[in-house]
Structure formats: C-alpha cells, structure tokens
Symmetry: C2
Subunit: 604 residues, 2 copies
C-alpha cells in the first residue's frame, strides 16, 4: 500500500484547515520565539563557552531539527519569506559547523569532544535521526540536496564508527529515533546503505541486554527496549517515546523487507499498547517514573503522565502498521489520538503546550502534600516552554503534515483513512476531492477525477449505527471518472466503558461524539465533578461554548446534596438532585483558569 503524503494533499477547509492555520499563524512562531530566547538556535554555532548562559544540552539539536522539519512542512503549504529565512539560517549554520567527518552535535562539539558516541544515554543518535528527518523534508520541500547530502555524510560517519570501526561506547542508540529516520533517508534516496544501517541497529537491539544507566532503578535495559531482541518483544515496556519510535522503525522495516517475524512482533506490541495500556484519549505511557509504560490496565487518570510525544509516536507506529495491513483498527487509533490527546496538548491559541497530558484534574489534590515530592500530579495549565522541550516542536511538525494520514493507494483501491475537507493528487493523473464538515457532521462526499477507482472509506470504530458492509473496517464503492459518492456516519453521542481491570474507570463512562471525547470542567459544572451522575438516556444537545467557541454537549445529570457541612459520612440516601451538565471537547480543556476536569463519569 502506498501512502499519499502531505505534499500531495491540500487541506482546503474545515476542522483541520483551521488547525493548520493556527499552527502557521501561532504555533510555529511561538515555538521559534521560545527556542530563540533559550539559545537553542544560537547553540548551532557550536561556540558556546563555559560560563556563558544557555549551555547546549544533549537533546537541544533535536528540538531545533523538529522545529525545522515542521517549518518546512508549513512553508510548503504557506510559502512565506520570513519563515524561509529562518529555515535557511538553521540549515546554513548546520552546514557551517558540521565537522569534516560529517558529525554534528552542538552539545558534544562544545563540551564533550572526547565523549563522542561514548555515552549511551546522551541522545547523539537521536539528534542525528531528527536532523535526517529534517533533511528529508528539506529536500522534498525545496528540491535542494545540500542538507540531505550533509546528513548522508553524517550517516556514513555513524556507519563507520558503529559498523566498521566498532569503537563506540555502545552498540545501539540509547534513545531510538535514528532507525526510523534512516528508513526515511532510504525512501527519499533509494540508497540501500540507509536501510542497512537501520537494520543494523534494529537487529542488534536487545542482543546484548544492557542497562541504559547503571545504578538507576528506572533505567534498566527495558527502559530503552534493550532487554530482548526486537523480534522477541511482545509487551510494550520502558520509556514510551523510545518504545513507539522503535516500533515505528520495526514496522517500517518489516514492510520494506517482508520480515514476517518482525511484523508479528509489531502486531503483538500494537495490541499490547492499545488493548492494555492506552488511555481513551489515545495517550500512552502511564507513569512519570521513567515516562514509561507500566503494567497492563494501569490507567490511573489522576497521575497519568501520557506524554504528547508518545501519542505522536503511537500515530507514527499506527501509520506504518496501516500501510502493511490496510486494517482500519490502526486508522482508528490515529483518529483517537489526533482528535483527543494531540489536540489537547496545545492551547486553543496555539501557543502553550502540555508535555504530560492530564486525564483528570482535581486542583485540591495538588496541594495535599506538605512540600517534598510525594506524588507527581500532572500540570493543571499548559506552559509556553519546557526545559526539556521535545513536545512543542513535535506538534509543529505533525499538524502541517496531517495530509500524511488521509489516503493510500493499493492497486485499484484508494483508501480513505481520515476525513478532511481536502484535495488529493493521487500522483497518477487522478485527483480526489473530499468535501466534509467532519467531525462536526458525519457526511463525506468524494469526487474522483482523471480515472476510475475503487474507493475504500474507513467506517470509524465509534460508528456502530451505520449500515455499510465492511471488510477490515472499510466500505467500498467503485467510481468512474468524475463520479461523486457520499457516505454518512451518524454523529451520535456514545458512552464508553473500560474493562473491569481498568479499576479507575469502574462504574464510570466516557462521553464521545464522533471521534471527539467530551469532558466536564469545574468552570461549567461547579465542584465535585466525580459526584455527577450523567443520564445516558437523556437527550444530549449540541451547542457552542460562549466563551471558548468550541462545541458543547448539554445533558441531564444528578448530584448529591449534603446540606450539613459537618457530615463527612452518612447512611446511604438515594435522593439526588437533578442538575444540567455541560461538556466540552477534551481538547479544549484547561483553556481557562485552573479547574477540575473529568472524563469518566458516573452514569445511570
């Protein structure tokens, strides 16, 4: 199956167009400015000296590279000169400071020349991978080869050190990423050396299990998925972002090489994540301890870590799996994460970000401890910058490239995985025009021009009322040149329950309309949201939030009344008073002052 990528897809209106415009107008500049203020671009000059401010950190280059990649996607759709100047400046600075061998790292070149490729956890290969992804984007967007070639030299240098000379301090990257980036280099250039180097790292991982950092309990071998050979891995373990970046590369390699054993491992890992370790929002990585996966069904909303980058990596992984299997389950997971965890990670003004994404907020608990660090509660508000700032530039590169997720072609069949108001150049003379107000409305109208095709529409997993016949979750229509076909997925309000092992959700349900989860905030519903008991049979009305401008769902609920504030416990009393409840999309939470937020409700 051939994915149609962002370059061939123009999102021309609707929900995602607004998000892409927000990204262009606000996010890409907001992140640039924060990075600029914190010296991340200046660091590329590799002239930082001891005692100066803004000491380049081992992972700073990756922040810049991801921003650069996102800026390139943005510029490809909205070619503004000001952005191009910034792009060129970064590329020029990289090229000017790359070493003769091809190496580049603003931390090591200023602070640890002698430690190049010596310390497993020091993110050099991770940064190199992000530079490669940016270089591929640079070549595809600008047509210039200078940056891509420079990263080719870097890859050659890495191959020399890790494969030929074997004089490095470790065998496989401490933070996976370069594996998937090398596969992109291979896709872009067709040069098999990149595939070989990626496979070298993939095949060596876990062969000689080694703790990532000795003496740190959380940084055992499994923390960097280095506990078992990749084909033997069936449970998602360790640092969630590292994990899904690795699995993405594994899936991509399996598809490219036809490696059935690797594919089977990927399928098992994907199932383990999505059937046992994924919040309903599409967030993964439950624990702040190591930013990591934990045990099955540990979906502890109140202390969820659920890093933004991990959800983005899950999308990458699902995308590779989808390409291999054309099974809508993968596209369903992409949809879940996009409309919920990913959107929620950014403020409605596009300028502030969650690194860890709350699944529930109870402000008073955040003050329960008497100093010290007993329980780490997720942040109640988004920040404009983080010291470890991987997530904001990951958003910067995801949103303008959303076209990547919409469509693929396999023989005569054109798959439609995600729905957006867009025009797609199928690359063979055929053009596909999709018109929709999704996710506000469920109607999707597609017109094909320049040839015939079999159109495969994904029937979303949440859509249990529609009558379409499906195969692997897709429904098929044969269309001629110029023909228009429509599908309609009823946008009903659905109520979801989690399995009993997910103990924090027992007795509770989540509310979803189409792909969008709704939550309650204290601002709209008063205090003690956990005491609300919503009526799943009441008529839920769609509206617009007067302050936030996002959709609302209003329905009926009950809550208890404890008139005497001296009563902590009382004998059960079934009287409850009726109360209206107003829900907003989860993605719109925390855009006012600190407040309670709840996704899982008691229901009757």
């Amino acid at each position: 199956m051939k994915h149609i990528d962002y370059s061939a897809v123009d999102i021309t209106g609707g929900f995602w167009r607004r998000r892409q415009e927000l990204s262009r107008e606000s996010t890409v500049n907001a992140v640039y400015d924060r990075f600029s203020e914190t010296g991340r671009f200046a660091a590329l000059n590799c002239d930082w000296k001891e005692g100066e401010p803004f000491q380049p950190h081992v992972y700073w280059d990756s922040d810049v590279a991801k921003w650069l990649e996102g800026a390139l996607y943005t510029w490809s759709k909205f070619p503004e000169e000001e952005l191009k100047v910034k792009i060129d400046q970064i590329v020029d600075t990289f090229l000017a400071n790359q070493t003769p061998e091809g190496y580049f790292n603003s931390h090591f070149q200023t602070q640890e020349q002698e430690n190049r490729f010596k310390i497993m956890n020091d993110h050099e290969l991770y940064c190199a991978g992000h530079w490669m992804e940016a270089a591929v984007a640079h070549y595809r967007v600008t047509g210039e080869t200078r940056f891509l070639d420079a990263l080719g030299r870097y890859a050659d240098y890495i191959a020399k050190r890790f494969v030929e000379d074997k004089d490095t301090g470790f065998e496989v990257p401490g933070h996976e990423e370069i594996e998937l980036a090398l596969l992109k280099m291979y896709d872009c250039t067709g040069d098999k050396k990149y595939l070989d180097l990626s496979l070298h790292f993939l095949n060596l991982r876990g062969v000689h299990p080694r703790d990532l950092i000795e003496g740190r309990g959380w940084a055992k071998a499994h923390y960097a998925q280095n506990h078992l050979p990749v084909r033997k891995q069936t449970e998602a373990k360790g640092h969630a972002v590292r994990a899904v970046y690795l699995y993405t590369a594994m899936a991509d390699a399996a598809e490219k090489t036809g490696d059935e054993e690797l594919k089977a491992a990927c399928e098992a890992l994907f199932r383990d994540i999505t059937e046992k370790k994924m919040f309903i929002t599409g967030s993964i990585g439950s624990s702040a301890q190591g930013e990591a996966f934990t045990v099955p069904y540990d979906l502890f909303n109140l202390v969820a870590y659920s890093e933004t980058c991990a959800s983005i990596g899950l999308i990458f992984f699902a995308q590779r799996m989808l390409k291999m299997t054309a099974d809508s389950r993968y596209a369903d997971v992409i949809e879940r994460a996009l409309y919920n965890s990913i959107l929620a990670s950014t403020s409605l003004d596009g300028k502030a970000f969650y690194y860890e994404n709350p699944q529930e907020i109870v402000p008073y608990l955040h003050t329960r401890d008497n100093g010290g660090s007993a329980i780490r509660w997720p942040k109640m508000q988004r920040s404009e910058v983080f010291s470890c700032s991987c997530c904001p530039p990951n958003i910067v590169r995801l949103i303008p490239a959303l076209g990547d997720y919409i469509c693929s072609v396999e023989g005569d069949t054109v798959y439609l995985h995600q729905y957006a108001h867009c025009r797609v150049d199928l690359g063979d003379g055929r053009t596909l025009i999709m018109e929709t107000k999704y996710p506000s409305r469920g109607r999707i109208t597609v017109t094909l021009r320049g040839g015939s095709a079999r159109l495969a529409f994904r029937v979303p997993g949440w859509c249990t009322e529609c009558k379409y016949e499906t195969d692997k979750g897709y429904t098929y229509f044969d269309v001629e040149d110029g023909q228009t076909v429509s599908v309609d997925f009823p946008m009903k309000v659905h109520f979801y329950e989690a399995r009993p092992e997910a103990l924090f959700n027992c007795g509770r349900c989540a509310v979803q309309r189409g792909p969008i989860l709704f939550c309650a905030e204290g601002h709209d519903n008063g205090a003690n949201l956990r005491d609300l008991c919503i009526s799943v049979r009441s008529r839920w009305k769609l509206g617009i939030h007067p302050e936030l401008g996002v959709p609302t769902l209003t329905g009926k609920a009950t809550r208890r009344v404890f008139e005497d504030d001296r009563v902590l416990y009382r004998q059960n009393d079934e009287t409850r008073c009726a109360t209206p409840v107003t829900l907003i999309p989860y993605y719109a939470m925390a855009n006012r002052s600190e407040s309670e937020m709840l996704l899982w409700f008691q229901w009757h």
Copy 2:
C-alpha cells in the same frame, strides 16, 4: 466527669476479652522478642560503642517505655512471673543508668553527650514522656515508688533546663508527648509542678514559630504544630501523631484548668479531623509525605498512610474531650477507631503489625513503576518488626488498658461509653456488671450493686433504628441497688456514603454492621473488586468465615462481563451478571496472602 480506668474494670468475656488474651499470649511477647533481637533492651545499659551492632536510635527508648507500660497493664490483669521479670529488668536498668542529674536517653548517653536537649527533632522529650507514662503505670500497678520518683527527678531536670536555665537548643518539644505524660504525672502524684511544666510547653508552642528541620520542605513549623499558639489552632496540620498527642494534652489541660479558650481550640481541631480528615475506619493522617494531615477531604484510599499511632492518639484525644463534655460523638469516634483501624493494625495471630494501614489494596498497582519511588503504596502485608517501631508497642499498651474507655461517673450518673462483657468497680462501693455479646449482638444488660444510680447508655451513632430518647447521644435509666436494665441496639447492616468532596468515594458506599466495617478481599470475591456493584436492598446474611473464623456478610452484587480480552473500551452495555459477594470485617483483612481489598463499593 471522672473516668473509671482499666484498674477498676475487668473485662471478663466476649469480644474484647479474646483480644486481651491474644495480646497477653501473643502480642506482648512477640513485640518483646523483636525488640530483644534488635537490641532495644540492651541499649538501656548505655554501653553501646561505635562499631557494635544495634546502634541505639533517638526514639528507641520510647519503644521500650511503651512496651513496659503495656506489659504493666497486662501483668495487672494476668500476673505472670515471667512478665514481671522482664518488667523489673527494664526498670532496674533504667535506674542504674539514669544520670545523677536525672537524665536518661540511651542514644544521647552513648553517642551525643554534648547534644543533650540541643536538637529539636531528636525525640528526647518524647522518650522522656513515654518513660513518665510507664512510670505512672508502674506505680499504679506495683505500688512501688522508685521508678515514679526517678521520672520525677527527670522532670525536675527538664524543668531546670527548659524553664530556669533556658540553655537548651529549642523551647518546645519537637515531637509532642511529654505534655500529656506530665499531666498523667500530675494526676498520679497531685504535684502541681508537673501541671506547670506541661502548661509551660503547651503555652510556648507556636509563640516563636520555627521550622522543625531547616531546609526540609515537609518539616516546616506546622509539621510539629509550632506554627501558631495552641489556642489559635483550628485546623489539624502536620505530622498526625505529633498533632493528636498535642491535642490530647491540650484537652486534658483545658479540663484540669477550666481554660475555655483552650477547650474551644480542641473542639475546633476535633471537628476538623473528624469532619474533614478521617477515613471511615478511624484512621487519620492521609499522606506518607511527613506522615501528615493534608487538605480537607483528601481521603485517597489507595495511597492512605493512616498510621496506627495516629489512630491511637485520636482515641486519647477523644477520651479527654469526652471527659470534658460527656458528648457521645467523642465515644463514637473511639468506637470507630477501636473496632476498625486499631484492630486491623494487628494480625489475627497477634504477632504482625501495620504501621501504615491500607484503606484499599490493588496488588498490581504496587508494581506499576519501573524502579525508583514514584508513588508510595501502603504495605499489602503486616510486618513483625519495623526499624521505626512506634506502633506495635502502642498496641501493646492500648489493648490491656481497654477498660479505660468503658465507663465514667459524674455525680449520680454512670456513663457507659463502650460496651464489653465486664465488671466495673465504681470505687464508691458500687459495682456494675455489664453482660453483652457486643458487637456480635446489640443487647447490653447492666446490673448495679451497692447503691443506686442514673445509668447513661451511649446510643451508638450508627444505630439509627432504635427508639431510645437521647441527650447528647446517651439514653438514661434510673436504677436501684440490685436492679438490672437492658438496652438493645439492632445490629443492622448499614451502608455509608461520604460527602461529595471526598472524591475517591463518590458513587460508592461502605458496609458496616454495628460498629464494624466490612471489606471484600480478592480471596473471597475474585479480581476487580471495584467493578462489583452491591445490592443494598438484598438480604445480607451473617456467617462465619471457614478459614479466618471471623464473621462474614454475604449479599448480592453484580459485575460486568467482558468476554473478549482484546476489548479495552466498549460502548456502554447495561448488562451485568449477578454474583454473590462475601465480606469480612475490615479488621480481618490481609490475613491470607496478598490480595485485593476494598472498603468502598459501587452500589445499587
């Protein structure tokens, strides 16, 4: 109101007699043996040298003193020679090693001679207080004065240093305890100097607020209740054991001196604890961070700290308040803590103890983190010894002295606060005989001999079905010499809910029969207890647990069925399957292997 103490009360049968026998046969010896093995008794010789094992810790003396106090109460009821030998040995060793000034501390005399009374957090006055409590018990049980006199000399030395010379490193104890102990010395000797010294410490507390340990976030002034003068304190703050020991002394002092301002502070503090910060089991101190009180309504079952000593201190506090006010609310709290948190802290064989008492157990969560110390979960099983072992000897002294809590006399009225099968010498020629199977049955029969009286029976707060007229929670009967009167409190199963602010209990109820809370364990009910939804209208049948020999309640419940283990989330489905549920008393939890335990159930 004059409390009738343990010495005048013989518990001759029934529930508490069995617990007292278990304490005599098992607990007192088990704790002695563990203390012996860990060098705590040998430490009293004050001859430990650097490099030897069993280095005396600053709080070790208090462990021994509490054990001694408990052993004395035990010996007074069960005078066995073997126990007396151990008692004498401790007293003799103390006397042989007390310094000429009257000072005694096995840590400071071996390791920090120069730091005597210099370090606020080093527990010297706390240990001294416990020695005083033991000395009072020793005098009252044996009639000998030598130990009491020795502690009198210690008190004089403390007064010289803290009141006259003022050459100490701090003004008030870092861990309160000596304040209440000095009031016991006053009660025992009638010597006002003890009252004065206690009031000195009470009145100075919080006058010059000072962090207990500088630079430690959790050890601010409020940690040791040193943030405000005691009469200005209205919110329970800081280390829970320190707090309730202080409040106990405050209440006792208020009663002795008629200080209305102090009494009002005590009332406010008691309300704050019991109306906002008390688990339904009678446990207090929600957070492991500083073993401390937190914010109102933070009753986070899964991570509850709820130290045993804090519940014991709450009983002491309630007892002093009861003496001042004859209000059954205080006796209700004593009953709640005794039958639930206190009993649960000890294993059914009397040999193992909880320091922190779980309010819910979900074993899989205890393995969620990847090493490190992200969330501190309560222990799933009791231990036979702790490095900080304050709780076991506190149980050793509480159980044999349970007679302290049963009865008081005020003028013509004899109050019956707690119910036990016992004989009480009222000290004025009158004897009261109470016959009951409480808490199995609710019938209590009392016969008075040697005079007439007005009998005031506490109508327990849980007893909402009985028809007795009450005043401040007591119902009154005038009885003549030789007359018998009976009351009967229907032992129904009640279901309790917590107020909405206690968010962890929203939508859930606790099950109580008489004063005893019932819980479910995985052993009897399978996995995923939080998914059980109990029927409050089903007939709950009382039985006996075949393995544990404790009462059971069996009733009806429902649970969900998720047949396909690949489904993490599904659209709501109201079908539930019926399942029986077997509950055991909370006090009997965790007496088998590790298992889920739940107190708060979904209900319908």
